[in-house]
Symmetry: C2
Subunit: 320 residues, 2 copies
Amino acid sequence: MSISIERAWAALSEMDNVLVLTHAVPDGDAIGSLFALYLALKKMGKRVFVHTDRVPALMGYAVVPEAYGNGEPDYVVTVDVGDKKLLQKEDRERYGDRVDLNIDHHGTNVMFAKETYVDPSASAASEALFDIFTYGGLELDASIAACLYTGVSTDTGCFRYANVTPKTLRVTACLLETGIDAAGLNTLLFETKTRPYVRFERAAMNALKVSADGKIALMVITQDMYRDAGIDEADTQGINALPRTIEGVLAGLTLKEKENGVFHASVRTKPPLIASDICAVFGGGGHRYAAGCEFGTDLEEAKTKLLCEVRKAIDAIPEQ
Amino acid sequence: MSISIERAWAALSEMDNVLVLTHAVPDGDAIGSLFALYLALKKMGKRVFVHTDRVPALMGYAVVPEAYGNGEPDYVVTVDVGDKKLLQKEDRERYGDRVDLNIDHHGTNVMFAKETYVDPSASAASEALFDIFTYGGLELDASIAACLYTGVSTDTGCFRYANVTPKTLRVTACLLETGIDAAGLNTLLFETKTRPYVRFERAAMNALKVSADGKIALMVITQDMYRDAGIDEADTQGINALPRTIEGVLAGLTLKEKENGVFHASVRTKPPLIASDICAVFGGGGHRYAAGCEFGTDLEEAKTKLLCEVRKAIDAIPEQ
């Protein structure tokens, strides 16, 4: 069970010499909540440092270089981590079993820490942190607010997704009132593409094929495409969203060649088609409308098997 | 000078047999505020009807079919119209000089109506309408809220731009509380592309050329590209944003062949480069970082003239 917000604030207040961690391959909410908590604990007069394995290409502004200290912490806090197995390998091995406090917003949190504050109604871990800071009366400055804004805006797709509640918007209004340049942050987070990404996206769009009367869109991504574009595979996650954006498409499929030759399928669907059911046939899983699975075969066989299963699922939709 | 919010509400309350109009080639705020005001006046027990020349491909849900009445109105109200010359031709000729009330948010409003309520701090005409409805105590239902949401979200680029204020977010929180499916609306407004648009965008991306050490990105759009993609030119406005999204690009240029053979240039820049200065050289103009101009020459000459002027402007930037 989640601890109360009172207890979460009290726990933070009691700590000193704190290490803050987040999940591996961190996204905007991980980076935002990590550095927001770092700055807040600093402001509370604590000794504090952070570890993180990488920072997404355009999120450098959130990073506080001197936050990367080292040494042995007395307390370990994690943010935006639903399960200790999501920690980066080294962090997991050193600290996975001794996390004092975990602050999160995933309904699926497995409560691996000594104490867990989890609010599944929060759009982002950063929104949960805002609540704790506000409860404790911590005055938010623009640096902390910019980190929290990064978390909320990236986890909500810039306020597009169903996890945006009226409270999310009111919290964001308070963040804007600290004087942050939200539009400037959004330009970086949502409107700027690196040149390698533009080259990669062009190649991906050229590889897009629509079939089944416009109901299926399939994109095949090969290792050659990463190489030709000069891009790190980890910076191309967003491309999976592309095939489903086409009007009339019920199943947006991305088949990605991994370094070991295995093909990973990302399956995104629109109702009534269930992505996780399709992926379950191949031993995969995920969310209702966004799931994944793997194929240890060559590309043609992976394509045929996946398309065949998707067509079966589409044919099984009752006529309206 | 703008009338007060009290007077705006009183003016709406006094009217009956009202025609509501908006600007030509309406965008989301035009369509949203048009139908929101239609529904609100209906709810207030008025006879009311609307005119509009077209509705963007994915915005049909906001349209109330029976709103398109005809006949002779006793009152004419316009929404989101900064100048009567922006009205669609027929509306302008029939009603341009007899608009009783204009509700707007453009700081540049020329006050062409008998009474004008304009709030330049509002992100959208829909936000100004929300304020008037709230002042009057009109209870917002989900249909009105969905229209207002459409206006606010499209005019702010889904809450990305600098016109989002803390108040904009608090207004949007109230709209969500009526129970609208904001995430579903956003999927339509921001994540769905028609198949012709996907074909068009692919061709446009393939036509993108970066020069001047990555500081200039130029895209040439021809009439053939519209024809090949099977798309209406009016449904391709969004493409102008593409060249400037590339990291490091200071000038994102789009040269579009018009039906009469003239080339229209869209110039989007990042600070310190001023788009309106560049376009002024060719008799054009616009905003500081988004402006336009025209070339009555062939493509090669238009390209050369524009690129030459942009390079000059870039070379004139002081070294930092």
